[in-house]
Symmetry: C2
Subunit: 341 residues, 2 copies
């Protein structure tokens, strides 16, 4: 059997089972009182930092040319920005601050030096803006460009995880959905379009801004369940539900779509909001009273978009204003197999 037959979830389940069943505990970590508190399967791993009430966070994310980006839609400088942004967003979704990064570059020998400089320029821009430091990495020859970033983070308080959503919880998001997907769609369909809408949407795709401050606010408000929206809101909510053993309902009419996106893609904005991906806003759940309180207090804005229900783990349905189920279109995608139903 090949991994494309098993699909992404199947492969991850298999490997997670192996790791959990066959792994001895980290005896070295314990030597330094580094007790693991969040294991494989969440946005980051987390462990106590020994002394003090600090938790260490640890995550990694990869972009492969032709799979996660093309040079046409993502210039090198933006690629540098985005390769760190996806990792910073994982740290943000736990409620932490990013600290140190290692950058691994897989490059064909024909890569232009100027392009490489642009890549690093973008990485340094976002590093400086978010207060983290690149402290090394690895560079290897590869027939295809890939960038892997490993990032540490730190936080005080309880990391927000994926496994604690409960039926009756409300589901909220901390910013607009679909703008990044709209930018990609626009570049693929009308690469030469310019103007306010094109600028806004392309910028949303190329320069996403991870929600680090928002993540800290959520932790301070005692939100305990969160993840970031990277693969598409419906797909990511499904992952959160799967981790928590619950289902969810999304109210299509409450999805926060930016007016520019709605105006430029009036027929597609809901699909883009549900499945566009790379929004890097945070998705969180909690009791109705708590979520309503937090949503009204967040300075950058947030919106209730659904609720957690009993049911098949990971099942997400989308309903209209009358509560009637509507097909959700293409919800994210499978890294190895065919698109999911």
């Amino acid at each position: 059997m090949q991994i494309k037959d098993l699909g992404e979830f199947g492969v991850i389940d298999l490997l997670t089972r192996m790791v959990v069943d066959q792994r001895a505990s980290s005896s070295n970590g314990k030597t330094f009182s580094l007790d693991l508190s969040v294991d494989t399967g969440d946005d980051t791993a987390a462990w106590s930092a020994g002394a003090k009430a600090v938790t260490d966070l640890f995550t990694t994310d990869t972009m492969v040319e032709g799979v996660h980006f093309t040079r046409e839609t993502t210039p090198w400088e933006d690629l540098g920005w985005k390769s760190l942004a996806s990792n910073i967003s994982d740290v943000a979704s736990m409620g932490g601050l990013p600290t140190y990064a290692l950058v691994t570059l897989g490059l064909p020998p024909e890569t232009e030096v100027l392009d490489l400089e642009s890549l690093y320029k973008g990485m340094l821009q976002i590093s400086n803006e978010y207060g983290l430091a690149i402290v090394g990495g690895d560079m290897v020859r590869s027939p295809v460009v890939f960038i892997t970033v490993a990032l540490t983070g730190a936080m005080q308080g309880q990391p927000m995880i994926r496994t604690s959503a409960r039926p009756g919880d409300l589901v909220a998001v901390t910013g607009h959905l679909g703008s990044s997907g709209g930018g990609l769609k626009l570049m693929l369909e009308n690469p030469s379009e310019r103007g306010e809408a094109a600028d806004f949407l392309m910028r949303s795709h190329r320069r996403p801004r991870p929600a680090v401050t928002v993540g800290q606010s959520l932790v301070e408000s005692e939100i305990t369940t969160a993840m970031d929206v990277s693969d598409g809101m419906a797909d990511d909510l499904s992952k959160l539900c799967r981790a928590s053993g619950v289902s969810a309902k999304i109210f299509a009419d409450r999805l926060p779509v930016h007016p520019i996106l709605k105006n430029r893609f009036p027929h597609d904005s809901v699909d883009l909001a549900l499945g566009g991906g790379e929004d890097y806003v945070l998705l969180f759940t909690g009791s109705p009273s708590k979520v309503n309180h937090v949503v009204s207090g967040l300075t950058g804005g947030a919106a209730v978009v659904g609720e957690i229900t009993d049911g098949e783990p990971g099942k997400v349905t989308v309903v209209d204003a009358q509560g009637i189920e509507i097909p959700a279109g293409n919800r994210g995608w499978d890294h190895f197999g065919p698109a999911q139903a």
Copy 2:
């Protein structure tokens, strides 16, 4: 200009300059008293762990199919072992213990599930043996197999670095050189060979054992300069010399070559010891009195193989028993450019 014209050192220099010049300090790290003590350019990055006399270590290493391994010479289970071994060795060369690992797999959709299980089996074997825990990762579609491991470590005491070698220091290594390279050579030339020599050499290539305990002993003995031998002893010593701004001389007749390697490849054992790579022993320097004392005390054995001299930074010459310079053959290799002189 393309990166193959600039060569590996040129590219690394360029990016290091950019990072150092344009990087703001890690303001987030400082929030948690995580002060960076070893920056980009060493085997790992290192920072104080906040409270307690603990230093955090952080490293990453990548293997790409067709560049760092082929499926013929490295079966999947061994590939799993080796992908972690090279990272553990970096932590060992600082004097630390490996703690937590994230594994990124780039895989073609046609990858066999059984092969993936074998890969993880090898990773879990070395993880359990060395007391670290795999706590997550990322999996992406890629036309070529690559494995990136990011590893944290921790230590008490002063990390051993590359920049502190001084003229007059002796250079020593903590185990046999060239056995891994001999294993690769044997598999490429006589893939069907079996017997004691083939078993030993192939095992040296496929199941290297990072020198974690030895690294700790060196730190306890107050050795301050070390790195691991991964690209070949001559090439790695050259990197250490470059980082320290010194030259070095290697005594060819003192290179510790295992009798099996010497017997199986009598004409090539010195070249393999100098340039074979993936030995994962430690290379360290220090004053003659200190190095001689440490070498005689290490239970696993160690050998003085050269000395640090004044001269062009990074220049390494190889001399025979009479002190006459001999050509060193192919000393390691450049990831992007032609073989070095």
